[in-house]
Symmetry: none
Amino acid sequence: MSRSNPRVVSVLERAGGFASAQEVYRLMQREGESIGLTTVYRSLQSLVNDKIVDVLRREDGEAIYRLCGDTHHHHHLVCKSCGDTVEIEGGAIEKWAKTMAQEFGFRDVGHTAEIFGLCPKC
Amino acid sequence: MSRSNPRVVSVLERAGGFASAQEVYRLMQREGESIGLTTVYRSLQSLVNDKIVDVLRREDGEAIYRLCGDTHHHHHLVCKSCGDTVEIEGGAIEKWAKTMAQEFGFRDVGHTAEIFGLCPKC
DNA sequence: ATGGAAATGAAAATCATTTTCATTTGTGCT
DNA sequence: AGCACAAATGAAAATGATTTTCATTTCCAT
């Protein structure tokens, strides 16, 4: 069984939010780190098992990972046309998620929320 | 462009909950209906476009579809473990999305928001 | 140093989904 | 009916993420 890989953790820290396995791999390559894709997958899996990272799914089904207890949880406002992205605060969402979870007795909850539209330039 | 296929709708009705494209395909085969997997995928896609079905992701990333009884815009509270789903109100989200879009000058906005966690039974 | 367990990664396998493309079906028109 | 053209269909190939296999390398404890 592979162990929680500190190098992968470090990349997730620097990514500051969600990143897919492929993105983590590409990032490490770009930074000159020598690592195999298989090892990235295994490290992420074991980080999930150890509850050190959360795993979610993007709309296209790709798995995305984030360090748990990341205080810099934010959401995105993405332009449908040029792909430009703005990081935004989601205080209202946090509250909404908490309230809804409570109402239906769900525990250990997380959430996803993104806004899409046309940016001022497009 | 393929059209919303009534045979696929009928299968989803009988399935009575969520079903993946592969499951819909297998079900139709079992019932002796002649249809290709490609057509199942295309039909589901266009049903999603027409907002006749909802699409979500199972934990393994497979897309699952369900007839969406109302045209009313809603969000989901999904159990990470058993996949059980509750449709919830998202009034706070609508407002949040609108506010954020306005603040950054985005037009023509839409949004996605889902909450996931462990349901009371899991 | 030595042996065994754990970690690694390249390549192949898997699986859902999408794309390609040739064929069939449907529809409007004369 | 016959014809033309658009839409629908589906088999097979392509794609892309993820997992598995397996041979090799690295780590430790003795």
